[in-house]
Subunit: 325 residues, 2 copies
């Protein structure tokens, strides 16, 4: 891994680093892809709705941590025509994961690393099924970033990525060399990286925050600071977090006793913040209910962990999501 796999390739500076494919050019793919490209990595974007705009007008990331502008990004519309890459960043919404066999399948080669920059649970299992020869990582993004127009990302706050390797048995995979390689590339691009030894723990820990606040922010049309300031929703969020922690533990990913209080404290100190699901709802996009609710609730059920409050949220969100379509 430390050396490029294809030193005889046509691009000489390919020797300098790894080549990336970024699937999806929205708030996440646009942000991290642009930063990697600006740091000198060879980045190829697979785009859909923003394809023409990216080709003619480039990619703009307006960011609190410094703007990035790619005048002529390498943009593709067909994954089978893209060059061989070392790393695939999967940054489409989970609501489009039915497209993943077509989009990710062509990159399935030994030595390739697939990084799932997606929300929810079980997305790495899906990727590992589609690309069985690749090594799969989870990439958990803690950022407030928005696609405000075609080819135009607005990055408002935060930005760290937690990387954790997927283990086919579901257990802790530790810090693999593939993980270390992607981590160092992201760090070279100015992105803060947390290396996590256990993907399950990392995924469930993020759900402790996402399951209460994504759902409540949509259902109550509220920002996180409003939800944490009101005693009723503060206590409900705490109870919802307790259910996620209990489910995580039952699923073999114990989170540590202070997780709930840490998350509540984090939320109290955060700026007023619309969750990603709230942004999806406002933009009329489908809600990521399968990844953020159905998959973890299914895992909890199979592990015998009751989650009645989370199930209540999930049913309410299903209703809203069905009615809007």
């Amino acid at each position: 891994w430390p050396q490029p796999r294809d030193p005889t390739g046509p691009v000489p500076w390919r020797l300098m680093g790894r080549r990336y494919a970024v699937l999806g050019t929205g708030a996440i793919g646009g942000l991290y892809g642009a930063r990697l490209a600006a740091a000198g990595h060879d980045v190829h974007f697979l785009a859909r709705s923003d394809l023409d705009h990216l080709r003619t007008d480039g990619l703009t990331v307006e960011s609190v941590y410094g703007d990035v502008r790619l005048d002529t990004p390498s943009v593709w519309d067909d994954p089978t025509e893209m060059p061989e890459v070392d790393v695939v960043l999967v940054a489409i919404k989970t609501t489009a994961n039915d497209q993943l066999p077509r989009l990710l399948g062509p990159f399935d080669r030994p030595g390739t690393t697939v990084v799932m920059l997606q929300n929810g649970l079980c997305v790495e299992t899906l990727a590992a099924d589609i690309a069985p020869s690749a090594e799969v990582l989870g990439g958990l993004c803690f950022t407030c970033s928005n696609r405000v127009a075609p080819g135009h990302i607005r990055h408002l706050d935060y930005g760290s990525v937690t990387l954790a390797a997927h283990h086919r048995d579901g257990g802790a995979a530790g810090i693999t060399s593939a993980l270390e390689a992607v981590a160092s590339d992201l760090e070279s691009a100015g992105v803060e990286v947390v290396r996590a030894p256990d993907l399950g723990v990392a995924r469930w820990r993020k759900l402790v925050w996402n399951m209460p606040f994504n759902g409540l922010s949509v259902l109550l049309d509220a920002t996180t600071d409003e939800l944490i300031a009101d005693p009723a929703t503060h206590d409900l969020a705490a109870q919802l977090m307790d259910e996620v922690c209990a489910a995580a533990e039952a699923c073999g990913s114990p989170l540590g006793g202070s997780t709930r209080d840490d998350m509540l404290e984090l939320t109290r100190t955060m700026r007023s913040y619309a969750t990603s699901m709230k942004l999806d709802a406002e933009a009329g996009r489908r809600l990521e209910l399968d990844a953020i609710y159905a998959a973890p609730l299914d895992a909890a059920r199979r592990a015998g962990a009751p989650a009645p409050r989370l199930e209540t949220l999930h049913a309410q969100l299903r209703f809203l999501d069905s009615r809007r379509r």
Copy 2:
């Protein structure tokens, strides 16, 4: 009871029937008060915001079961000045129950019957504390009625009243003579009456419907037919009903095994219908959360019946209600 208590009173036709005070001239007080008056009963209204309008323009009830028009209703603004009455119909919203000592207190006399035409649980206990000499009945209205303008009620559907006597010990009081008297007056006014021997059972049975559908209709901005047609909210409503039934049983008011399925079937066959709480929300009124959620959830908690889904709804509704004020 069968004879008027005061045959020497100043109004000769007082001999003909019972005298009523109706506290509140909204959707419920206006509807039933007008029907009793139209049937020849001596009805005195205590009004607040609609006072002037009722005195100058009278009371209009537009109803699917026949319009009623009172040109010169007897309207009062001070309960201490109102004549002695046999029956007090309490038809203010429970959100104004902090006013009840002032409004109901003056009617506390032996021989008086107080009928609580309110939603929720424990409102009869409150009335019995304020009027310890009176006999207290619960009056559970199953109606779709709206105050569309001052002195103007629109009665869209249904209209039956379930009467049940309050027992100071909380048990079943049976069919008392006071209950029978009010029932026969309402029936003489064309109102369908159900005589219920056990107030707790009657109140909890109504909550089996109200707790799921009032809350969900507000939270999801939905009508009952939308909620029952969607599989996610259908199943959630069923689970919420199960929690209410379990709470009722734990509180000594077992409802019978088919209650949930009966209520779901009833909802399926109902016309599209905005719940009373939805109408309150749309009109910017306070939501009746203490009576419909806090009181039954408090009773459930004391009886050891878990109700996590109902508590979730309650917390969400508290947030909405606080924010709107």
